[in-house]
Amino acid sequence: MIYRILNNDDVAEEVLQDTFLRIWDRIGSYDSGKGRLFTWMLNVARNLAIDKTRSKEISKVRKTDDIDDLVNKIDRKQQAEQNIDIIGLKEFLGRLSEDQKFVVEHLYLKGYTQSELADEFNIPLGTVKTRLRLAIIELRTILEVKS
């Protein structure tokens, strides 16, 4: 996810290391009553990655890319084996509706916050929330998460 947000191996690895150090330092503040450890760690990583995009001023470039550009760029740059998961990602994202795909891509893969997305694309915040909600319900079926 860090890599998806930053789209740069070196910076992503730097942030990944910072993430693990942050987790190490803050593990005491994790409360299992408030959610899964994975989600907690994910949000630590996400926040650090988003901080990085802001500090690096790479956000302008990043935010004009859509997922196809991202995929194309990676296709050209990376070896075949790494394309497989990109293709898989593209394939299951393709099973979402356009609206849902847009929200998931921007929130989960490009490091937008909900309010940034709402502001930048003139979508009401409530709509962003419900679209994400619907997308997650879709993903639950696509990814075969058992209830």
Partner: protein, 269 residues
């Protein structure tokens, strides 16, 4: 509160994505504690996110793992150090976990340190052991040498007494026709009948041969004992009334009567 409506507002997704403000989060947490249905839904959302992000994950390069582990190890060492320096500055809430974290870090550091020290001590001990063995060997050698020197000194002192004593007469035996260069002496005490042999020059003998000293008493040769060519004084048998001393070469162990043909030196008293 309508639980269904609450869920469909998407607030739990926002909560799971860490998008809510402090007060909104506290609100959600209160509701979660109250409604088991919300907890179940949140778990589902989180599991879906987990599946999604694992699917979307890109594996980092192999070297990253090592680098991160190193960074964490370094950090844990620093934590222990800084904790020791500021022991009062702890959040009570995370005390237990912090304790175990520090305890783990401390034990890793301790394990590393003690392994290193154990190895170090073992090395030192081995080196010391080797040095000790060497010193013991040297010490034994010195003791043996000292003993030898001491014995040699005793012998020389005794010899000096005999040689310088007026009661011992020195009988010089000169080389015969068999060996004109040969020479030996007998220090003979007439009153106590003691006799000591001193070799000045006698050729080396084969292994199966020995020199034998004879005393001529009343015209007859008397066995005084056998000897090998060596330095120093040799105590020989006691005899009185000697007219002459002579040395012959005999088979090892000596003979009851001399082989006159092999006589090396002869000297009259």
């Amino acid at each position: 509160m309508n639980v269904k409506e609450y869920i469909s507002s998407g607030i739990l997704e926002s909560y799971a994505s860490g998008e809510l403000s402090e007060s909104e989060r506290a609100d959600v947490e209160r509701n979660l504690a109250q409604y088991p249905e919300l907890r179940k839904e949140l778990s589902l959302i989180e599991e879906t996110m987990e599946a999604f992000f694992l699917k979307a994950a890109k594996e980092p390069r192999a070297a990253v793992k090592t680098r991160i582990l190193e960074a964490i190890t370094l950090r844990s060492v620093q934590s222990v150090v800084s904790r020791e320096q500021r022991p009062t500055n702890n959040e009570p809430k995370s005390n237990v976990i912090a304790f175990w974290k520090y305890a783990t870090a401390a034990s890793i550091v301790l394990a590393f340190t003690s392994t290193f020290m154990a190895y170090n001590f073992w090395n030192n001990w081995k080196e010391t052991e080797v040095s000790l063995l060497q010193l013991r060997a040297v010490n034994e050698q010195v003791a043996r040498d000292y003993d030898q020197v001491n014995q040699r000194l005793d012998a020389i002192e005794n010899e000096m007494k005999i040689v310088s004593s007026p009661s011992f007469a020195r009988v010089v035996m000169k080389g015969t026709a068999n060996s004109p260069d040969a020479m030996a002496s007998v220090y003979w005490n007439k009153s106590t009948q003691e006799s000591y042999l001193s070799i000045q020059n006698l050729k080396a003998l084969a292994q199966e041969q020995q020199y034998q000293l004879w005393a001529i008493v009343d015209g007859k040769p008397i066995d005084m004992g056998v000897f090998d060519s060596a330095t120093g004084l040799h105590k020989m048998k006691s005899v009185g009334n000697v007219a002459a001393f002579a040395v012959t070469i005999e088979p090892r162990g000596g003979k009851p009567s001399p082989s006159m043909a092999t006589m090396q030196v002869l000297g009259n008293t």
